[in-house]
């Protein structure tokens, strides 16, 4: 009797499983993404072609200022939390695949060009740690020690560079380091000192050639040409503030999402309510755009025709759109209180905007500027689409 009951139960379980498998149509991940819910340590998994939320994943710790990179197959998101948590999220299963707390206080990360290494930038203890992308086991620990006493610097502006390399800046030390993993798990380090005062973020161009660190402590940026036989850092756009007193900066700008368009970079200035255009060949100034406030993100639409800009507190309810060829503001609107981030669909037809204090993400057509949709998401901040997996530096 018991044997029969067991057999029947087994059959029920078997059929249930088969039914489940049949119901779950295979699907791609190329139009998926995540939205960080910064206050609740969770994220929403979204599908941009359907403009919808597919599910939520919880238990990711402190996600204020969180960011993410994606595995090459675009199935997994690696989420870097503020509390040092590194979480690998399975977008298809919509669950945490693996999670480690690797530092006390971290600020972002990168994935190597071959997809095998995840690097995390830490404020505390200052340095970079590198993990195996599959297991999240520690591969290398790179303390950012500087000066005679070997103090540890906060690290910022960590990006991947071609050839299994990572490049990052040392905020306290004013240095840029390259960690080269091309020879295996023990990185070859190249250090550049005296690159400028208080680098606060960095970017690498989509061709993997130019690393640029923004400086808080002085009017200028630091540039490293990674194609040079012997790269040498040099100051660019020195004195862009023209000696004018700096305005208070209530939120540091981000250089990720930098715009290279029409042969010009468009970058946010620090302490001046302007964007600065820079010639991509000569790195000389090529124009300015006066904007609404302290720019935080100046993000190029993927075709490079427009740059969308959001602003620091207390002017963070506004977005402006700059036409790159003319360097004119062609559109301005107020999505709502605390616009934190903008992410374009990979071909740039739509942009997703997180409006933190309204607990929503808004979706706009980038040509007509018409609103296309709105998603209820709690305290949204960073929006990251899987297409980033295919781009250097994202």
């Amino acid at each position: 009797m018991n044997a029969i009951r067991t057999m029947v139960l087994s059959l029920v379980v078997l059929f249930t499983n088969l039914a489940g498998a049949a119901a779950g149509e295979p699907r791609g991940t190329g139009d998926l993404g995540i939205v960080i819910e910064r206050a609740s340590g969770s994220l929403a998994i979204v599908e941009w072609s359907g403009r919808r939320v597919l599910g939520r994943v919880e238990g990711l710790g402190d996600l204020s200022h969180a960011s993410a990179v994606f595995s090459r197959d675009q199935r997994y998101a690696y989420v870097f939390g503020r509390d040092g948590g590194l979480t690998k999220v399975d977008l298809l299963e919509m669950k945490i695949a693996k999670r480690v707390v690797q530092g006390g206080n971290s600020i972002g990360g990168a994935i190597s060009d071959d997809g095998t290494l995840i690097a995390v930038s830490n404020y505390e203890p200052g340095g970079v740690k590198v993990f195996d992308a599959v297991t999240l086991d520690l591969v290398a620990d790179i303390p950012a020690a500087y000066g005679p006493k070997g103090a540890l610097s906060k690290t910022v502006g960590l990006v991947d560079a071609p050839g299994r390399r990572f490049v990052f800046s040392l905020y306290d030390a004013g240095e840029i380091w390259i960690a080269d993993f091309s020879q295996g798990p023990n990185p070859q380090l190249t250090r550049f000192a005296g690159i400028g005062s208080q680098p606060y973020d960095g970017l690498i161009t989509g061709d993997g050639r130019h690393y640029i660190a923004g400086l808080f402590g002085e009017d200028g940026l630091s540039h490293l040409d990674l194609w040079a036989g012997k790269p040498e850092p040099r100051r660019i756009l020195e004195g862009y503030g023209r000696g004018e007193e700096k305005l208070p900066v209530y939120k540091m700008p981000h250089l990720e999402g930098w715009a290279l368009a029409g042969g010009r970079f468009i970058l946010p200035e620090v302490g001046h309510h302007e964007l600065i255009a820079m010639d991509a060949a000569t790195f000389a100034e090529a124009g300015r755009v006066a904007v609404h406030g302290q720019p935080v993100f100046a993000v190029a639409r993927p075709d490079g025709r427009q740059v969308w800009v959001n602003f620091a507190h207390p002017l963070n309810d506004t977005v402006q759109v700059v036409d790159v060829p003319s360097l004119k503001i062609i559109h301005e609107f107020k999505p709502g209180p605390a616009v934190l981030h903008m992410e374009f669909t990979p071909r740039g037809d739509e942009v997703w905007i997180s409006v933190r204090d309204a607990d929503k993400v808004e979706i706009y057509d980038t040509r007509t500027f018409a609103k296309r949709g709105e998603l209820k998401i709690a305290k949204p901040s960073g929006i990251f689409f899987t297409a980033r997996a295919t781009r250097i530096g994202l």
């Binding site: 006390g104 206080n105 910022v156 939120k251 507190h313 933190r356």
Partner: protein, 126 residues
Amino acid sequence: MRIKAKNRRRSPRKPGNIWSVLALGFVAAGGAPSLPALAEGAVDAARGKQLSYLVRQDCGSCHGMTLKGGLGRPLLPETLAGADARTLAAIILDGIPGTPMPPWRGQIDETEAMWIARALKEGTIE
């Protein structure tokens, strides 16, 4: 306006009593018997909520939403134990030149800066 249970206990009896409102402000301002000149006046509960939100969300850009630090230093009671509240209030109002700490004067008045300084030291930011 949501009144915290703690405050409700201190202002009993008649709801809407003028003293309950005053007591609320007083407790919110730190409840110290003698307020320094900088902090005369009070922050009401509604403004206190706004300030708490500002501290977590906007100061949090650099100091972390949980105030454990980031590009800026941690703002936890244990890390601020040795700091004088008036000094902290002055830093909030005027910033620290040469660092990313900006002046908040114009958005936050002296009473509010003092309230934030005390709330940080006491760990009572909501």
